[in-house]
């Protein structure tokens, strides 16, 4: 090791001192900045992941819709599966119904699915924690967890379902009875809006409820893993017959605004929190400057021993680099620890402020998501180490400018 690196380490971690105070405080400052950056970008990244999960797991990678509905779903399915990149597709029909149990009404969105095909596209079974997807038949319904809790329905209970056809029937003075469906399952996806207002029925039941026998609103599509969903959507669009007035959109396009805002927030947070590191770097600069002044005579001595000014500069610059690296490592470790225990931390926080329900309603999550993004972590590491090395430059320049003769004369 060249003498200036050796001396830099010795000055950071002096022998005989049990705890290197200056170094520890500088490192801690940087580490706190890194920790906050890691935690916040990872949680934001977790939000992004969640959007993807709940979209792809309920409506597939790509969704095709046709304005007037798809009248011959079987033919369309055959066409769709011929498009390169399409692995599987399943038809759906959507609407809103009134659902009643024990005189407690609710107005969920209802999704009619093809029980035979749906699992090839979306892993619905994964989210059904009471009952089974296989039990879904034309006389049954799968409720979302919060909805079931709100109306007090359990697996095996009967619920009454009324569709907009009821209004049509009332207008023409026809008798219309609600349809009785048996609850055969309860699901929870982990997204507040979906868990409180979505139910699944079979495609056929949905067609009956809306009086559109034989037609589907669109298809959920699963694509080859690794294929860009936007690219797949473009291919499907190219293959759609013009008469259909259909349109395929990737999950990203469907959530475009949300993803855009999230990305913007993530970048803003990164940008703002970087200032914590810059502030920490200023404290590194000032403590190194103090050390240059304190060590004026030693720096003169290094010159007398044969040290070159640029080597003296390297000695101080290297101290900034080491503080940066130690701060980064400590900060990453702290960040990972906080993220590991994030649910406990959030729980403690909400218990303190009694705001559990509000947070869940606002953020749509029961648990705080987190996803380490390699690009953000890399950016944090590079940014911190660069900033800390720059922090060493000013002290290094001061030290290199000291003339040994004058430094040795100073008292």
């Amino acid at each position: 090791m060249p003498w200036y690196l050796y001396l830099a380490l010795k000055q950071l971690f002096p022998a005989g001192r049990k705890f290197p105070f200056f170094t520890a405080i500088s490192v801690l400052g940087v580490a706190l900045g890194v920790m906050v950056l890691v935690v916040s970008t990872s949680v934001m990244g977790g939000f992004g992941r969640e959007i993807r999960r709940w979209t792809v797991d309920t409506t597939g990678d790509v969704q095709v819709r046709a304005d007037g509905g798809i009248n011959r779903p079987a033919d369309f399915l055959a066409q769709l599966t011929k498009v390169p990149g399409v692995v599987a597709a399943t038809p759906f029909a959507e609407g809103v119904v009134m659902l009643e149990h024990n005189l407690k009404p609710s107005y969920p969105a209802v999704r009619g699915i093809d029980v035979e095909r749906v699992e090839a596209v979306t892993p619905l079974s994964k989210y059904i924690y009471f009952g089974k997807l296989d039990d879904l038949d034309d006389d049954s319904v799968i409720l979302s967890s919060q909805l079931a809790a709100a109306i007090g329905a359990r697996v095996g209970d009967k619920v009454e379902v009324y569709s907009p056809l009821l209004i049509e029937a009332l207008k023409s003075d026809e008798a219309y009875l609600g349809r009785e469906l048996r609850v055969c399952g309860i699901f929870e996806i982990g997204h507040q809006a979906l868990d409180s207002s979505l139910v699944f029925v079979t495609l056929r039941t949905m067609q009956d409820l809306y009086g559109r026998r034989g037609s589907a609103d669109g298809f959920d599509v699963k694509i080859t893993p690794g294929l860009d969903p936007d690219e797949a959507a473009a291919r499907i669009n190219a293959a759609l017959p013009p008469a259909l007035h259909g349109h395929a959109r990737s999950w990203m396009e469907i959530n475009h605004d949300l993803i855009f805002i999230l990305q913007l927030e993530q970048n803003m947070i990164f940008f703002l929190l970087t200032f914590i590191i810059i502030v920490a770097a200023f404290s590194v600069t000032s403590s190194l400057l103090i050390s240059v002044v304190r060590k004026t005579r030693e720096i003169g001595l290094l010159g007398a021993l044969g040290g070159q000014p640029r080597q003296v500069a390297a000695c101080f610059c290297f101290q900034g680099l080491v503080i940066g690296m130690a701060g980064t490592v400590t900060g990453l470790a702290l960040g990972a620890t906080v993220l590991t225990f994030r649910d406990n931390i959030v729980a403690a926080f909400t218990r303190l402020t009694q705001s559990e329900a509000a947070i869940e309603r606002f953020y749509q999550f029961k648990q705080l998501p987190a996803h380490y993004s390699a690009s953000y972590i890399t950016a944090i590491i590079v940014c911190t180490i660069t900033v800390c090395t720059l922090a060493g430059l000013l002290p290094a320049w001061r030290a290199a400018r000291l003339k040994p003769v004058e430094a040795l004369r100073s008292e």
Binding site: P2, K10, R297, A304
Partner: protein, 227 residues
């Protein structure tokens, strides 16, 4: 980097040759000329003492000889070559009135610091450093931090450090100025003895007539020139 060729040609050339060295400093409105043409030639194995009243420019002269400062006029050669900063570590050692040890390092590492300037020290350098510490009587204190040493002990560490790279020239600026008489005498004895053993040329600045008397040549600086 620049191993001294052991040929007789180099032995014949003076280790240090200065001619017509001049140096003046700006002070207030005018400038004072401290050195007005100093000539000095020192051969290997020779020891020269420099005396003179306080403020006459002895330290200024040593700074010029060590290449740390540049003269306004005159020429200087180290073993026949012009002085260069990157040759200093191998060519000369310096001892100062204040001891200037590095407080973060222990005695042994302070001595080794001189070797580090040339290259990362190996076993041979470590052995030599330990040897030198033993020669100055500090073997048992090798692992003590410099802050744990007394003034005399620190100066002995500084002497060991100055000799670490087996320099051809040793410049000492009042090395006993901060020491009591007995300790000072011991340090000077040590300095002279070590230099004699290795035929290291020595320039010793001192106020002490007894110390000056022990060198092979005596000079005194007055009005900016040697008398």
């Amino acid at each position: 980097m620049n191993p001294a060729p052991s040929s007789s040609a180099t032995d014949a050339a003076p280790v240090l040759q200065a001619a017509g060295l001049r140096k003046s400093f700006l002070s207030g409105e005018g400038s004072i000329e401290v050195l007005r043409g100093v000539d000095l030639s020192v051969m290997a194995g020779e020891s020269v003492s420099v005396r003179g009243e306080s403020g006459c420019g002895k330290s200024t002269l040593l700074n010029l000889l060590s290449g740390l400062d540049t003269p306004d006029a005159g020429t200087l050669t180290w073993a026949g070559h012009p002085p260069r900063g990157d040759r200093r570590a191998a060519f000369l050692g310096m001892v100062f009135q204040s001891f200037y040890l590095i407080p973060e390092l222990n005695a042994l590492d302070n001595v080794l610091m001189a070797a580090r300037m040339l290259k990362p020290p190996g076993a041979a350098e470590r052995a030599r450093a330990a040897d030198l510490l033993a020669r100055v009587g500090l073997a048992p204190r090798a692992t003590h931090l410099s802050t744990q040493l007394s003034g005399g002990e620190r100066q002995r560490v500084a002497v060991a450090r100055a000799l670490m790279n087996s320099p051809q020239l040793l410049l000492a600026d009042e090395p006993t100025g901060n020491l009591d008489e007995r300790t000072g005498d011991a340090v000077i004895e040590l300095l002279l003895e070590l230099c004699r053993e290795t035929r290291t040329a020595l320039v010793l600045v001192t106020h002490n007539a007894v110390h000056a008397g022990k060198t092979s040549r005596h000079l005194s600086l007055h009005n900016g020139v040697f008398q």
